[in-house]
Symmetry: none
């Protein structure tokens, strides 16, 4: 596996444009239902995808493995791999992912935590989820916490409301934090009938964060004291910015992320991509890409719905979303990118209703490919492709090479 | 990736013979020209290669990746990978490669530098290439330097004349040098109007080399003082022998390199292969191999012209050279090697006029392969082969295994 440091030494600039079109959760498994017209076919095989199929016939095809054989990736590791960051080296903490998913930005001065509203009586947790209160009601409670606790001892608190009892908090310190600053246990005791756990720093550099968290929980309990059942806050997943090199440092590319889901924008921002707030469907994403074509070298276009329908176990629904994603290909090609990469961040077989470990179909379109090895774009067609089955982190070096952005190694 | 230390533990001797037949720059890309009969075909696909095709049908085929995905290798890294040395671990310095290319041997007592004749007036570089003087004239100037500066303070100076203003110098010390001995900056300021840079050792162990280089440049300037425009010498690429284990240490093989280009003999000598001075075409190389068949276990046969024509962008010319290379196969097979490996050191697509990152077609012929998967020998046929797409450094272990030279690992 080639490390980013080698790639960095070989970078050269040019005017090329690279598009990475990610259909989230793209890969799948064959449906097994003799009564279905899709029996024996994967979503990609069942869908009518004339644009992807035509592209596959003239592209370098293969499959990529996000983390490792048999490893089912979360969305964080899946995307990190696509962006060329080894997901085993750069772990994104639970608190960070949660905060990003709720639209919060995470900086190098921050510790992010995932929080639950809970019920505590006589210092004993009686309900870890405060009876799963309604989302809208809790949004207002969270807004109240934000008003009442904007800052403690110079540490800024930024709240993001989630579903039901869930929310996230960013603790923003005045200065950048060491990675060890988040080495703090969860306060959630993971069972009712126990007291919330005190925060114990596991590293000297975590002491001030533990103290700030302690004061935050104390203040929150005061604010919520009459709000039974949601009269307490449990915190877990303390995490700092993973501090990987930025995308522009790593590849010399000015990158634009066009994604309508906050978490993917958050992931993109973590590595310094520009990821403006955006909402809209794939057509709106493509318009946005076109409007910003001249300002960037690299475009990450995220299509979410293939994953969502896979998670729902809705095979036909996923087929429909794949067809919708196929429809976007001509608009991307009309911009004449020098390199177009089409793939997913992981597989989400509808028959499993979850992410899975299966290698993900991949194609790289550029003038410097063989092509002619696949009749269309699917898991089984891609097995025959010229790229073989490669780690996800190989995709970025290949994209850069096809864009003419890598010099020769050695003489 | 299997490291050489593991292989070394498993070595066992036998009487087997292995031939590694390298067509330099073998791999290519499809030509795109509707008017050409070669449209859509790579050089290998366009060429008539009955011998290679027949061999491919009965061999283990695949492709190999010299350095890593997307990385375009120079000739040095390309060959190191074929010989089983990880090119990212063993880097061959610019001075070494240059010296070897000019036919100089490099030992562990040596520092090699790449030099330019330059014009310097009032201690300012006014032409970094001395007006690109004629090669033949400069050959005589270099011979004069060799006569005038055979040795300084016990350090022997060995000169190799190159094209136009280029030459290489070996500084041979009385004792073996540490790798850090070459940590010295270039004196070439890389722009006119600047003074030549003094040599500053970047490590204490480089001090004596920097001092020897300083005296050399001083002496050379004295010798050349009336030779305007070539009245000065600029040096760069200080490098020592990379000190990798020898081929015989690594594999227990007595190896003969038959290569008509000096640089490839130099590479072979770096790892202790015997590589006698030799000139002649592929038929002469094969005769040489036959004449020395009994003295060696391993034969590296180098065919250069496939690369040269690719670099020239001469698609049809490369096709012709591939056909010439194909013609050598029966003579190799007539020697009944136990294992025959046929491949290239990297790809050189004529359509790119340069080396490229594309995986290189590979076949291994021995009694211990499946075969029957490929209809011929080409990039796209090899995608279907039983070897898959593998790192170059996997080839030597596979060759040794097929030759019966590796014991079982564990019980």
């Amino acid at each position: 596996m080639i490390v980013q440091s080698v790639i960095k030494e070989l970078l050269q600039k040019n005017e090329s444009k690279i598009v990475l079109y990610v259909m989230d959760g793209l890969g799948g498994l064959p449906m097994r239902d003799h009564a279905s017209p899709f029996d024996g076919k994967t979503g990609l095989e069942a869908a009518s995808t004339p644009n992807l199929d035509s592209l596959a016939r003239n592209s370098a095809c293969g499959l990529h493995v996000p983390v490792g054989p048999g490893i089912t990736p979360g969305s964080g590791p899946g995307h990190l791999g696509l962006f060329g960051y080894n997901p085993l080296q750069w772990e994104i903490g639970r608190g960070i992912l949660e905060a990003m998913g709720l639209g919060l930005d995470v900086k190098r001065t921050d510790v992010a935590i995932r929080c639950n509203y809970a019920t505590v009586e006589n210092n004993v947790v009686t309900d870890r989820r405060a009876g799963r209160p309604p989302t809208e009601k809790m949004r207002k409670v969270t807004e109240r916490l934000q008003r009442e606790i904007p800052m403690i001892d110079g540490v800024q608190f930024i709240f993001g409301a989630g579903m039901e009892h869930r929310f996230a908090v960013i603790m923003r310190f005045p200065e950048a934090l060491a990675p060890e600053a988040a080495m703090i246990n969860d306060s959630d005791p993971q069972a009712v009938g126990l007291a919330p756990l005190p925060f114990i720093p596991r590293h000297p550099k975590a002491a001030k964060v533990a103290e700030a968290a302690r004061k935050f929980i104390e203040r929150a309990a005061l604010v919520l004291k009459d709000d039974h059942p949601q009269n307490f806050v449990l915190a877990r997943g303390f995490s700092t910015h993973p501090r990987m090199p930025s995308f522009s440092e790593a590849y010399g590319l000015r990158a634009l992320a066009v994604a309508s889901y906050p978490m993917y924008r958050g992931l993109a921002r973590l590595i310094g991509m520009e990821a403006p707030d955006f909402s809209g469907d794939i057509n709106a994403e493509l318009e946005y890409m076109k409007d910003n074509w001249n300002g960037y070298d690299f475009f990450f276009i995220h299509f979410k719905k293939t994953d969502s329908l896979g998670e729902d176990g809705d095979f036909s629904g996923k087929v429909g979303r794949i067809e919708e994603a196929d429809g976007a290909v001509p608009a991307i090609l009309s911009m004449k990118p020098d390199v177009l990469v089409v793939t997913g961040d992981h597989s989400t077989p509808a028959v499993m209703k979850s992410h899975s470990w299966h290698p993900v179909p991949l194609m790289i379109h550029s003038p410097y490919v063989f092509g002619g090895l696949c009749d269309g774009f699917s898991e089984r067609q891609c097995v025959r492709g010229e790229l073989g089955i490669i780690p996800s982190v190989s995709i970025m070096p290949l994209a850069l090479a096809n864009a003419g952005r890598l010099k020769k190694f050695g003489s």
